[in-house]
């Protein structure tokens, strides 16, 4: 008996019966025709670390072919204001086919993560994913290994106060369940989309932080109830991990918004309550196998060298990992 596809397989892979890495323009056109797609939406990470988007309506096959082949021109000087001074009209956003996904908030849209390419075909040097790409190229050139990574995404889900029943004690939310934790079903919805679209998820759970009533001058969060959540991924190549993490933040914010909630990843919301970390795991991979331990289960020499490298960089890495004041 042929086995049924699993519920969290990316819907596009099901439609064309292919792995994401093997998707071609022809496959994507099949998806567009089958799903009666009206527009392609390009997403790309800008200087504020958030996904930007461009909507491209499609009326015929020629137009789709052109969009998927050449991408679209954007104003780089607006997207990267503060980083580049020159007029950057010759910047293109070009779709990465393997990132294609059916937009969960817009059923007529086929979406992509794009990279920035200059008109001479080179990756835009000032784009965040170009920097990661160059770092990864260097790593691969000088080692015979692959570097996989994963993030632990923590956030507070802030919702209008509901029933006073089954109060979760402050700072005691770790792995809490309903009825004490009220937003578990929203977390399920987030994980469904994240796992189908953004990357393989290891697990998700309620985290330590529980705030009964947020004190703030900001109307956006004032008086709301806060429940801290975590989604942790499985290791994938570093470049896929980072695009997936930015997309994950986008998904989490949008799903929260659809439920009348606010999701925030900000490091600290209230004194004395758990803050939002963003821990990162890395693993060395050789010939598709984890190379971190030796035959006896102890750390391999390569793993210890990796630790030595991370220790050498650790203090300066806070420049990228901790960008706001935290009491």
């Amino acid at each position: 008996m042929a086995s049924q596809p699993y519920a969290l397989v990316n819907p596009i892979c099901l439609l064309v019966d292919k792995q994401r890495e093997d998707l071609t323009r022809q496959d994507l056109i099949r998806v567009i025709e089958k799903k009666q797609i009206e527009r392609i939406t390009f997403h790309y990470t800008a200087l504020d670390g958030k996904l930007k988007e461009l909507k491209l309506p499609i009326v015929n096959r020629y137009q789709v072919e052109r969009i998927l082949t050449d991408g679209e021109r954007v104003d780089g000087s607006s997207l990267f204001k503060g980083l580049v001074d020159m007029a950057l009209s010759d910047l293109y956003v070009v779709p990465v086919y393997k990132t294609a996904f059916l937009n969960p908030f817009d059923e007529r849209s086929l979406d992509f993560i794009c990279w920035y390419i200059m008109d001479d075909g080179s990756f835009a040097p000032f784009a965040f994913n170009t920097v990661l790409h160059r770092a990864y190229e260097l790593f691969r050139k000088n080692t015979d290994l692959e570097l996989y990574g994963l993030g632990e995404v923590e956030f507070y889900l802030l919702s209008p106060p509901s029933t006073p029943n089954y109060q979760a004690p402050r700072q005691k939310g770790y792995h809490g369940s309903s009825p004490f934790i009220k937003t578990g079903s929203i977390l399920n919805e987030m994980v469904r989309h994240v796992a189908q679209i953004a990357g393989p998820v290891k697990y998700a759970h309620s985290e330590v932080g529980v705030i009964e009533n947020v004190h703030s001058n900001l109307e956006e969060i004032k008086g709301k109830k806060g429940e801290q959540m975590e989604i942790e991924f499985l290791p994938v190549p570093m470049e896929d991990a980072s695009d997936g993490l930015v997309l994950t933040r986008w998904l989490i914010r949008n799903i929260a918004h659809a439920h009348g909630c606010v999701a925030t990843f900000t490091p600290k919301i209230e004194e004395g309550t758990a803050g939002n970390g963003f821990h990162v795991h890395v693993a060395l991979i050789k010939n598709s196998r984890n190379n971190m331990t030796d035959g006896k289960g102890d750390l391999s020499e390569e793993a210890r060298k990796l630790i030595g490298g991370l220790c050498t960089y650790a203090d300066s890495l806070t420049a990228f990992g901790n960008t706001v004041f935290k009491d």
Binding site: L47, D48, G49, K50, L83, F128, V131, L132, R134, A135, L138, F139, T143, G149, L150, H215, S216, E220, I221, P235, M238, S242, V262, T264, F265, T266, P267, K268, F278, H279, V280, H281, V282, A283, L284, R289, N291, M292, G297, E302, R304, K305, L306, I307, G308, G309, L310, C311, T312, D315, S316, L317, T318, A319, F320, G321, N322, V324, F325, D327
Partner: protein, 160 residues
């Protein structure tokens, strides 16, 4: 941080004796965890920096010695003597920016991070102006301190 996985396979066997076939995880799952980043991280640049660190470690012979020297077991936060022996991370964004500018060669080598990117991040951190923030906050009357702390904490609800 390194969290070890159990060296014993098929733990569920203890509870489910009716399960006759074992399952073996053949690819391995050991990772190393960097626990300093928080929700304000610039994801791509952080992962790029970590990749540079990994490359540096694997291609520089002194990395083994550095790892061995800093290797400790147990909970360092419950052992003050041990904690004092270890170098500490920057305590403010301003200090982070200073360290970044001092160590910028680690990132700019082989043209991976453009100079303008390092300058941009350093400027972003300096704008936090937080080196004496804790002192400033603790000098305020209690009510003002609470109010001001919240204002600062909540100003970047959606930073990255």
């Amino acid at each position: 941080m390194v969290i070890r996985y159990s060296k014993i396979d098929n733990l569920a066997h203890r509870l489910n004796p009716q399960q006759k076939e074992d399952f073996y995880e053949s690819k391995g799952r050991q990772t190393i965890e960097l626990r300093s980043p928080d929700g304000s991280a610039i994801v791509h640049l952080l992962l790029a920096g970590i990749t540079m660190a990994a490359e540096w470690g694997l291609t520089n012979h002194e990395s083994l010695e550095i790892a061995d020297k800093l290797y400790v077991t147990g909970n360092i936060f419950q052992n003050n003597k041990l904690l004092k022996k270890l170098p500490s991370l920057p305590k403010s964004c301003i200090e982070s920016s200073r360290v970044l500018l001092k160590k910028r060669d680690l990132y700019e080598r082989e043209n991976v991070f453009p100079k303008s990117m390092i300058d941009y991040v350093a400027k972003l951190l300096q704008a936090e102006n937080d080196e004496t923030m804790n002192q400033y906050l603790s000098d305020l009357p209690a009510d003002d301190r609470l109010h001001e702390t919240r204002r600062i904490m909540h100003k970047d609800l959606h930073r990255h």
